[in-house]
């Protein structure tokens, strides 16, 4: 078994609203896979179909080798889920809910009651388990769901925007947990619109837009398709004729300002650009891959620009 999740051409509509429009998603066993997209792209709908809460209108979905609709109960013993908007029973305490969710997961290997792990996580996330859920803030409700999921021994974790309510300190604790989990061989599907999070944690990324995957692969692979950002301060004026980056193929968004040059450069053209810069003389130079933010923004906005294309 190499794929924990395999989704092919998944379709789901709610009345006239198309939520998923032929989504493909592949999560390999043992990897942290980031599922990125703007609000309303269909991330939560996908997760709910994978949980068997919603029934797909078309396409196929396989989860841990089973059918998420038909084998829901059996599959749920092997996964843990953190909803994006955590709602808890107001009259129960956080500690009770953590235990309850573990017991409900139950199943053939009931090691969920691992009290030490539970206690360690409660301390790591600094949660007061004796408080009623009614009194918890959004971040604390999220911690309850996260601790319940991480304390389980599920082989697959489905996390829907798990850090949206956490403060930076708790976000760091969460990242530490994810790194630990990956090392212990768990598969994690992490839905997010926080790109730095995906960048820091994930092995592979799927970008979803309007119910379709628009890009999937490792970050390195994606950057391969993209341009580096070059920012240089030159010894002479950037408008010097011998530079003439203007017409060069593979150079985009050129900005010159006195002795400064900024542009985006395709990998193939990088050598030529650097050669021309050195002919003028370089005082300082940064050349870096785009952040996922930039990549994503460009991808998303350019897709939007050709909105005439299907999907």
């Amino acid at each position: 078994m190499s794929n924990a999740i395999e989704v092919r051409a998944l379709h789901k509509s709610f009345g006239r609203t198309v939520a998923l429009d032929g989504l493909d998603l592949e999560v390999r066993a043992g990897e942290v896979h980031a599922f990125l997209g703007p609000n309303g792209a269909g991330k939560t709908t996908t997760l709910r179909i994978l949980l068997g809460l919603l029934r797909a209108d078309g396409g196929s979905a396989t989860l841990l080798g089973g059918d998420p609709w038909r084998d829901a109960t059996a599959l749920h013993r092997r996964l843990a889920y953190v909803p994006g908007d955590v709602t808890l029973w107001p009259g129960l305490t956080g500690g009770e809910i953590i235990d309850l969710l573990g017991r409900l997961r139950g199943g053939p290997n009931p090691k969920h009651g691992d009290a030490k792990r539970r206690q360690a996580l409660i301390e790591r996330f600094d949660l007061d388990p004796a408080k009623k859920a009614r009194a918890y803030s959004k971040g604390n409700r999220q911690k309850v769901a996260l601790i319940a999921a991480l304390a389980s021994d599920a082989e697959l974790l489905l996390l829907d925007e798990p850090t949206s309510g956490l403060d930076p300190l708790m976000e760091a604790a969460f990242r530490g947990c994810v790194t630990d989990e990956r090392q212990s061989g768990r598969t994690i599907l992490l839905s997010s619109h926080i790109l730095s999070e995906a960048e820091a944690l994930s092995d592979r990324v799927t970008i979803i837009r309007a119910g379709r995957a628009v890009e999937t692969g490792t970050l390195a692979e994606m950057r391969h398709l993209t341009r580096d950002l070059v920012d240089a301060e030159l010894a002479g004026p950037a408008s010097a004729g011998l530079l003439s980056l203007d017409g060069l193929a593979g150079v985009h968004d050129l900005v010159t300002d006195g002795v400064r040059v900024r542009c985006e450069v395709d990998h193939a053209a990088l050598n030529e650009v650097l050669a021309r810069l050195t002919t003028v003389g370089v005082r300082s130079l940064t050349c870096r891959p785009p952040t996922l933010e930039e990549l994503f923004l460009r991808h998303y906005s350019s897709e939007r620009a050709v909105a005439g294309a299907p999907g």
């Binding site: 789901k12 709610f14 009345g15 006239r16 609203t17 939520a19 609000n39 309303g40 792209a41 269909g42 991330k43 939560t44 709908t45 709910r48 949980l51 068997g52 809460l53 919603l54 029934r55 829901a72 109960t73 059996a74 749920h76 013993r77 996964l79 843990a80 889920y81 909803p83 994006g84 908007d85 955590v86 709602t87 808890l88 029973w89 107001p90 009259g91 129960l92 305490t93 500690g95 009770e96 809910i97 953590i98 235990d99 309850l100 969710l101 017991r103 409900l104 997961r105 139950g106 199943g107 388990p129 004796a130 408080k131 009623k132 009614r134 009194a135 769901a145 319940a148 489905l158 925007e161």
Partner: protein, 555 residues
């Protein structure tokens, strides 16, 4: 108002009330007019039917002599003052119109106060330039407007059924003021607890207490504690005597309760924090007990508080009503015509049994309402997204549903058992035969269980097959059954209509005979309906049914 002042000094605690009331009307633009319309049509329609049923003075006099003095009927309806058609309408429907008006105002007040606060919307609103008291004031304004609309509509419509205008106006006002009194009570209840569910429970409990006080007082007759009816807002409706003596001053009583309730609620609201009740939340267990295991443990934990409250209410109500049964047959015998009627009805034992059987019917109807509320909790869990984490574990949908259905079945059975035992004790201790009465009446109460479960099964079927409308439809079915069983016979509706209600098929105990076949059929119908609902639940999407183009399917 000055243009510039310190923040918090501009305006009063009521700033923004108008805006919030407009918002409340906007949110209730369908439900509120519908409730007002349904209550009006029910009362007016039945007034019209009664007029056709009792066209002559002699037929009305006969009804007044028999039904009007029957303690069982007085318990269920109220006392009769006068023998005009208006008096009969007031006797039969005045108090019940008051109950429906009270239900409407209780639900409205809680919905626009504590429910908003618990849901976090009050926080969003409170952060705007809105006074501390504005939410409560807006809720009361909205509710008063609803009660006012009901009053005006009844006032306009009732004369068309042939009732005198002055009496119609007084009856309409009595019903509307009863609604207002319970709006005041609900406003206080909303301040007491941090949970909207509990607040609604407190207000409904007050309504139940009012019903019992009035019922016992009305059934007691001249020799018993008939003054009890004066302690209940539901009793005040009859005491206005809209079509007899016309005591307009009685309206002061419900208006005083409404004003006192509103004043107390405002005082409490001014002293407490947002989201807080009068009792602060205590810390609970840091770890789950062994009982909180599996979906049944969770369902029990979520519903046990409510069930305890219901059972306590049942125990007191039915003990009191049972105690009132003693001596009921002795009210008759003042005239030879009555004595004749009395023996025709079967003498004292039969009258007492009829009263007790009416009590058991009531116990069954309310147990069915309890079961429906338990089933409705599933839909709340689903739309509130607390079903999601449970269903994302190794808990199948059917098992999840069965855990709540289990609470409904066990809870309804428990309530009926409590009703039987309490009535038996209340009556038996006074009659000197507690042992036999407890056994006899517990059996009589339990005979209502299949009917109650059949109605709950309708709710399960709706949950599975028509989730979006399920809660409203289930309560509509409940309302229809109440109408059919409490008023159907008097309105001489066809047998076909009476047979729709499962309670028509329950044995009339004590006093009646028991046949196994109808009970068996009821159980089979309940099983079939529940099975249909569960299979529907297995097939459909879980969660909020997203409306096309309206709701964002993501997050």
């Amino acid at each position: 108002m000055t243009a510039l002042a310190l923040p918090g000094r501009t305006g009063t605690g009521l700033t923004g009330t108008g805006e919030l009331a407009r918002l409340a009307f906007r949110r209730d633009k369908i439900g509120l007019p519908a409730a007002v319309y349904v209550i009006t049509v029910a009362v007016a329609g039945q007034a019209y039917t009664l007029k056709k049923l009792y066209p002559t003075a002699s037929s009305r006099a006969a009804l007044a002599a028999t039904g009007g003095t029957n303690p069982a009927l007085n318990f269920l309806y109220s006392r009769m003052f006068g023998t005009s058609i208006g008096s009969i309408v007031t006797w039969r429907y005045g108090m019940w119109a008051g109950i429906f008006a009270a239900l409407m105002t209780i639900i409205l007040v809680i919905r626009h106060t504590r429910t908003d606060e618990e849901g976090g919307r009050a926080e969003l609103v409170g952060a705007a330039a809105v006074g501390r008291q504005a939410a409560l004031a807006a809720a009361l304004v909205t509710t008063a407007a609803a009660a006012g609309a009901l009053t005006v509509l009844l006032c306009l419509v009732l004369p068309f059924t042939g009732l005198p205008a002055a009496g119609s106006a007084l009856l309409a006002l009595a019903v509307g003021c009863c609604g207002l009194a319970f709006a005041g009570i609900a406003a206080v209840a909303a301040q007491l607890t941090s949970s909207a569910r509990t607040a609604r429970g407190i207000a409904l409990a007050a309504l139940a207490v009012a019903f019992v006080l009035r019922g016992v007082g009305d059934a007691a007759g001249a020799s018993g504690p008939s003054w009890l009816s004066w302690t209940s807002p539901l009793g005040w409706i009859q005491f206005t005597q809209p079509f007899a003596a016309r005591h307009w001053w009685v309206l002061v009583l419900p208006l005083a309760v409404a004003a006192a309730g509103a004043a107390l609620a405002f005082a409490l609201a001014a002293r407490r924090d947002l989201d807080a009740g009068l009792l602060p939340d205590r810390p609970g267990r840091p770890a789950a007990s062994v009982l909180l295991r599996g979906p049944s443990g969770l369902a029990w934990r979520l519903q046990r508080g409510a069930l305890l409250g219901w059972a306590t209410g049942y125990a007191f109500t039915f003990a009191a009503c049972g105690a009132a049964a003693k001596g009921i047959g002795q009210l008759f015998g003042t005239s030879s015509a009555l004595e004749h009627e009395f023996t025709r009805l079967g003498g004292q034992a039969a009258i007492t049994n009829a009263y007790l059987a009416a009590l058991m019917l009531l116990a069954g109807l309310v147990a069915a309402a309890y079961a429906i509320s338990v089933i409705g909790r599933m839909r709340t869990e689903e739309t509130g997204e607390t079903a999601e984490p449970v269903l994302a574990t190794a808990t199948g949908r059917v098992r999840w549903a069965l855990s709540h259905i289990g609470v409904a079945v066990v809870g309804a059975a428990l309530l009926l058992a409590v009703a039987g035992v309490a009535t038996g004790l209340g009556y038996g201790l006074r009659a000197g035969s507690a042992g036999t009465e407890v056994a006899r009446l517990t059996g009589a109460a339990m005979a209502q269980l299949p009917s109650a479960l059949a109605l709950a099964a309708v709710a399960v079927a709706l949950l599975g097959l028509a989730p979006r409308a399920s809660v409203a439809a289930a309560w509509t079915a409940m309302g229809l059954v109440v109408l059919i069983n409490l008023f159907g016979q008097a309105l001489q509706v066809s047998h076909w209509v009476l047979d729709i209600s499962p309670f028509t098929h329950a044995p009339k105990l004590p006093g009646g005979s028991v046949a196994a076949a109808p009970l068996l059929w009821l159980c089979l119908a309940a099983l079939a309906l529940a099975a249909a609902g569960l299979s529907g639940l297995r097939r459909r999407d879980i969660g909020l049914a997203f409306q096309a183009g309206v709701t964002n399917p993501d997050s």
